[in-house]
Symmetry: C2
Subunit: 372 residues, 2 copies
């Protein structure tokens, strides 16, 4: 069902290159999954994702459960057929979305009661039903239900929440080995001892892979990396590791150095819609007047459809005019930026140059801040 | 500069198949041009237009003049390069847009004073400057400045307006033979004698082609076709004829029967955004509950990207979820519906079956009303 082969390792960090295969669908890791919450990566057709090197998509149980509903997707033959995407699909359990609802949800040992953001109807997610629903969707990788705690939080709250997450994880582990890979999620807020304990106890449950959750929610970057490092040191080295929701290029590279294999984030598409474009030499804010007669592509040498065909001047015009083609072309470029970044990450690890690569990327990030 | 060869004619109507070449860019007529007002067909990337058989695009001087401005487009090497579109481009002079501004414009013999809908700035379009600006844009076919009169109107107003349009046409004709094809526009509201007079007097000016304007503005369909018929009978048979803004399938076919060669309309893309899809057996309103678990494509046998890859169920989900992919996929299908319709129109004329084709299309339109 899930096979993970490590093909190369960095010498001076925990970074590794691997091949992850689930249900016959293979991705090269480290890998970045764009977010297709509702079964579509916003503004990018499936064939463009493939043409631009996307290996997998992160979809969301919470959203798909509410709309169009699990029955509809199941009747279509599962999510891969419903959205016409034959590459890897991870579904998030909805824990994070429910956590974001705040006043609309109530967490109990049984599960989480919540009210739909769409129509106010009442629902219950349990560790059991979220796994079953993700299996009905036909996800390749399902995520357990967890509780994401707010930042900052107290040690006591974080510990009791972690225990709940672990209790839920145990109830989820019953479905291991039944066709859908299941990943446990390490919680523990910003408390290293809780992260260690959570990682160890999850490891005992022998999940197919492990995610690190509850980060990038407001804590300092150093704290975030400390937590990532603490988790990856405890997690089994032969299983894939997934850092949820972290998508800034340099952060990805630094997390790879800690031994993370899988990433997802809305950054490429959300920024594209806002007119912020990623390039090797920094971010480019397309609405800026300086691009009004700039006939160069977003990024010289970029092989994406947008850069091969359209100028900054045209892209600025589309953005300012509010044309649909603006998020479409911008998203294609940003998606390609991410797939190329990950490809370079893998090459750098294979070539024994990964630490230099990370240092170079960080140096460029400094520039980047100026360009914005 | 402009070459128009008629290759086949229907026996029982004025319909004809032709090849129109302007500046080395050829289209087969009758042809439908999707509208790319601001230099983009809403929601459809240029390569998808090409992949789905689009032969040309109608852009708009009024909009491009206001934003990004003629200078920007000129600096990019002209509109074809700016928008990366090497097929035919017709630019509308903006007469219709200015007419739509109503309270924001004032028509005088010199030209039309108007206030920008974007920032309230004041502008003047004259017969001379609109042609010069369209030439600077690098349009293949430029339209003269005209006055579109409201419907209904009096004979006296329509006659004086027509005389102004003719006076303006005369001033525009000075630029004939200078690299950009220029089309005159027949006005005259719903008065056959004015239409005849306008067509005759425009013909004396020897434009490269002739448009029929001021129709589909609220008059009855029968009146519209009477006017089209009156105009095409007067216009020189060896020049291309363009019926502006008429885009309903059956209306196109009936106008082709009157001898019209070129069409444009926002219908395919605007309807796509509203979730209305065109099929051979009628219109399909994708939000309808009946499609929630319908795993068929929009139209069986359609070769568009959308129909080859996605179900009605998925398209309904995208529409209801407000996803960008919804207008994207819907527009591709509707555009393909139009290019296929025009291809069938041409085949039917060549095969001597055009009148049967029109009758069949009308019969389907009756069905279509039921499906909506």
């Amino acid at each position: 069902m899930l096979k993970f082969e490590i093909e190369a390792r960095a010498e001076r960090s925990a970074a590794r290159v691997g091949r992850l295969t689930v249900n016959g669908r293979t991705v090269e890791t480290p890998v970045f999954f764009p977010v297709g919450t509702q079964g579509t990566v916003k503004g990018v057709a499936q064939k463009e994702l493939i043409a631009h090197g996307v290996q997998g998509m992160l979809c969301n149980l919470y959203h798909l459960y509410l709309r169009p509903g699990i029955d509809v997707v199941e009747a279509a033959g599962g999510l891969h057929r419903f959205i016409n995407w034959d590459r890897l699909i991870i579904t998030d359990s909805g824990g994070f979305q429910v956590y974001s609802l705040k006043s609309l949800r109530k967490i109990e040992p049984e599960g989480v009661h919540f009210v739909s953001h769409l129509d106010g109807s009442s629902h219950l997610f349990t560790p059991e039903n979220v796994i079953k629903m993700q299996m009905r969707l036909g996800a390749d990788i399902a995520m357990v239900l967890d509780e994401c705690v707010e930042y900052p939080t107290t040690f006591d709250y974080a510990r009791s929440s972690m225990n709940l997450t672990l209790e839920w994880a145990k109830r989820s582990a019953k479905w291991l080995g039944q066709g859908t890979a299941i990943f446990g999620i390490v919680q523990g807020a910003t408390f290293p001892e809780l992260r260690v304990e959570c990682a160890r106890r999850l490891t005992e449950l022998a999940f197919d892979g492990y995610a690190i959750g509850g980060l990038a929610v407001g804590e300092a970057k150093d704290t975030m990396f400390e937590m990532v490092d603490v988790c990856t040191r405890e997690l089994p080295p032969d299983k894939p590791r997934y850092l949820m929701g972290v998508g800034f290029g340099v952060d990805i590279a630094k997390a790879v150095a800690c031994g993370v294999d899988i990433f997802d984030c809305v950054m490429p598409t959300r920024n594209a819609r806002n007119g912020t474009l990623f390039t090797e030499s920094g971010r480019l804010v397309i609405k800026n007047t300086q691009y009004s007669q700039d006939n160069r592509p977003i990024e010289e040498g970029c092989d994406c459809y947008t850069c091969r065909n359209f100028s900054r001047s045209y892209l600025r015009h589309l953005h300012i005019s509010g044309e649909l083609l603006s998020p479409m072309l911008n998203s294609i470029h940003n998606i390609r930026y991410y797939t190329r970044l990950m490809s370079r990450v893998r090459d750098a690890i294979r070539d024994g140059q990964f630490e230099e690569f990370v240092a170079e990327l960080q140096a460029k990030q400094a520039e980047e801040n100026d360009i914005v």
